[in-house]
């Protein structure tokens, strides 16, 4: 099977970026968005074609999907074995990611023509969207860790650029800086991890690394460092990079602030694609984790579970609808991470891996839908705060219906896709670790609760006074909503258990009622509570928050994570470390330089009188000098 053309999937958006970027003041808005959409449509079509070709027509060997190198070129050659390539790797998860990224990105491109209409820098926005799409495609098809790292940083940059899209808004600038610095900080560990892995295994190539029978995996165990093998440490470091991108604890602080960017950006980057890069990274290296470093996988599982619980709790108290969705995203990514953490390699043990990817897929669709719906609401109301919303179902019928579908999906109501994928995760957790299972079950209930709180507050509840009647979004915004809503319906029935597994072989799944019934029940309870509390305006929420008292306040302030970070960075790092370094810089380094300059200047000041312009003084000096030199020669002073 020839997959060479897959290199075009990232390259077409790159060209679109270059064209729109270079000509952004020449092109009209229609043309710029047209170029972006056309390029993305091309990638979209090719991604779907690749998926069709890969899952339906490529021959399986031994009942397993093969990993295929579509295109490869050596980029940097270090030694015979150690080189960095650029290329495309076609395997089940990369194909799935191509589908996810191209779908959501195309929808966001279309949606933005309506949402961003009339904004300053419309063309800039489209060029950055193209840049992001290029980077994300490049990331998912990476053939080696280094290529992934390169594109990993590129998506970070695109994210930075798009969060800071409203660069004249101080909060947006601060948010973009925060996102960049936090993820970059995490990426530092990622890089150390990559180098360590490269050092141990002598390869960066994913195929060689993840081959379960290969030598790379076998090499990891030997060397011990602080009680764990070096491989474990390296993989934990790599996971830290992934945690930074995927907003896991404790690197999650940038994600809520990233909502300063335009809503389509939040939908694309901070809900559906870039933030799941961490999940994708762990999934990509899963065989290494599973075989060489089960301890690292345990860390992964717990980080995911705790993050998802934390985020779900915080989400219940937020009032900014985009922030609620941001915490919800974090919580759902926690789910995926946990699922990877509790997964095994083969057969039914590998259900966690499958479930994680499944949830990644469905989550991308319904979370993008939620964000785009939220965008439509914000577009209509011109506010992010749910206090200023209510009763919108009459004004925004299409948004209302699609948003409801998405909300039901994320709450895990059967037969929508969220139910299936979440169910698989719970099953995997149930068989691996009961503690994690209960956390996840509780989170499922919380998810249903906070999502329906959002839904009822926005579309039901008391109607505030609107300055002008909200009206439904234009067709360019409605179409992506409906398309994604359709996906949220259908995605649950895709046979992920056949397509996406660790070893490529299909696994049997069957509904485990022990898990499914409580999960659904928790979801329904959450919905019911939200309905009682928020469908009509009631006093219950205030009473409850008063009852929780301090805990409520803590939650509302996101457990003061930002403040802790501020304390650590400002009080400790800035005050103690940076100040002494700055002192050293100013008083030692700079002072030396200043001193040299000062001495030069002073001595110049002192001797500049010699340069008097009096020609006779010059003549005198010249002649006496000549005489002195002559005398010195005669007296043999130079020998």
């Amino acid at each position: 099977m020839d997959f060479t053309y897959t290199i075009l999937i990232p390259l077409i958006p790159l060209f679109s970026f270059l064209i729109i970027g270079f000509l952004h003041n020449k092109l009209s808005n229609t043309v710029a968005s047209g170029i972006g959409i056309t390029a993305l449509t091309a990638s979209f079509v090719m991604s779907y074609y690749t998926a069709y070709k890969y899952f339906f027509t490529t021959e399986k060997i031994d009942g397993a999907y093969q990993k295929i190198i579509g295109y490869n070129t050596v980029w940097l050659q270090f030694t015979e074995n150690l080189h960095i390539d650029m290329g495309t790797l076609i395997d089940p998860i990369s194909v799935m990611m191509l589908v996810v990224v191209s779908t959501v990105s195309l929808m966001v491109h279309i949606y933005s023509t309506g949402y961003m209409k009339g904004e300053d820098g419309f063309n800039r926005f489209y060029s950055f969207l193209s840049l992001f799409s290029f980077s994300m495609f490049g990331l998912v098809v990476s053939t080696n860790i280094f290529q992934m790292y390169v594109f990993w940083e590129l998506v970070g940059v695109s994210s930075f650029l798009l969060i800071g899209y409203y660069y004249d808004k101080p909060s947006a600038v601060a948010a973009s800086k925060k996102a960049f610095i936090v993820t970059r900080f995490a990426d530092m560990f990622f890089l150390i991890g990559i180098l360590t892995v490269g050092y141990i295994t002598d390869t960066y190539d994913f195929l060689a690394l993840t081959d379960p029978s290969g030598s790379a995996i076998a090499q990891g165990g030997g060397i011990l460092f602080m009680g764990m093998s070096t491989m474990t440490w390296a993989l934990i470091l790599i996971f830290m990079g992934g945690a930074g991108k995927s907003a896991m604890m404790p690197f999650h602080i940038w994600l809520p602030d990233a909502m300063e960017g335009p809503t389509p950006v939040s939908a694309l980057i901070h809900a559906a694609t870039m933030v799941v890069a961490g999940v994708y990274l762990v999934a990509r290296l899963f065989p290494v984790y599973s075989i060489s470093a089960p301890d690292a996988l345990e860390v992964v599982a717990y980080v995911g579970a705790i993050s998802s619980l934390f985020a779900a709790i915080v989400a219940t108290t937020q009032f900014d609808i985009k922030r609620v969705l941001a915490f919800s995203t974090m919580s759902q990514i926690g789910y995926m991470i946990t699922a990877l953490g509790v997964s095994g390699m083969h057969g039914h043990e590998g259900v966690g891996y499958m479930a994680s990817m499944f949830h990644l897929f469905t989550h991308a669709m319904f979370k993008a839908l939620l964000f785009l719906g939220a965008g439509a609401v914000i577009h209509a109301v011109h506010s992010n705060l749910m206090n200023e919303m209510g009763g919108l179902r009459k004004y925004l019928p299409v948004t209302h219906i699609t948003f409801l579908i998405a909300t039901l999906t994320i709450a895990g109501v059967p037969p929508l896709s969220g139910f299936f994928s979440k169910d698989e995760i719970l099953v995997a957790a149930f068989h691996h670790d009961k503690f994690i299972f209960f956390i996840q079950l509780f989170v499922a209930g919380l998810t249903a609760f906070y999502m329906f709180r959002l839904y009822f507050r926005v579309f039901w509840n008391k109607e505030p006074h609107y300055h002008h009647t909200p009206h439904d979004a234009p067709m360019s915004m409605k179409f992506p909503l409906m398309f994604l809503a359709m996906f949220s319906f259908v995605a649950g029935f895709l046979p992920f258990n056949e397509w996406i597994t660790v070893d490529g072989k299909a696994i049997e799944i069957h509904t485990e009622w022990v898990v499914a019934i409580p999960a659904t029940l928790f979801g329904l309870i959450g919905i019911a509570i939200a309905m009682v509390m928020y469908k009509k305006e009631t006093a219950i929420p205030d009473k409850i928050s008063a009852a929780f008292g301090k805990f409520y306040k803590w939650t509302f302030n996101k457990f003061y994570f930002d403040e802790i970070y501020m304390f650590v960075t400002h009080k400790i790092i800035f005050n103690i470390v940076s100040k002494s370094v700055a002192w050293f810089d100013r008083n030692v380094v700079d002072a030396t330089m200043d001193g040299i300059g000062h001495v030069t200047e002073k001595s110049a000041e002192m001797i500049k009188g010699l340069q008097s312009g009096q020609i006779q003084k010059y003549g005198f000096v010249f002649i006496s000098g000549a005489i002195i030199i002559a005398i010195a020669f005669i007296l043999n002073l130079f020998y």
């Binding site: 340069q611 008097s612 312009g613 009096q614 020609i615 006779q616 003549g619 005198f620 002649i623």
Partner: protein, 105 residues
Amino acid sequence: MIPNIPLSYFFVVGTLMFFIGVFGFLTRRNLITILMSVELILNSVNINFVAVNRYLFPDNMHGHFFTIFIIAIAASEAAVAIAIILNIYRKFKTINVENVSEMKY
């Protein structure tokens, strides 16, 4: 026809004249007198060339020609120098070398 005088006597005259010229160059303030000192210096060199030619290499005329060329150069130098001095005078209304010190630091 060589006078009955040792060569070194010519050297003494030349040297003394040279350093008198140098002394004048260093002490005189007027640009024209400085120019005259330079002429003295050139002239002393000429004396040495001619004397050496006559005493040591009477069979050729190299010193002789050098003297001719030096005279030519001295003439052109004097012409250009005087042109410059006139220009300076026009610009500064003086030809005192101490007042013409624009070219400093």
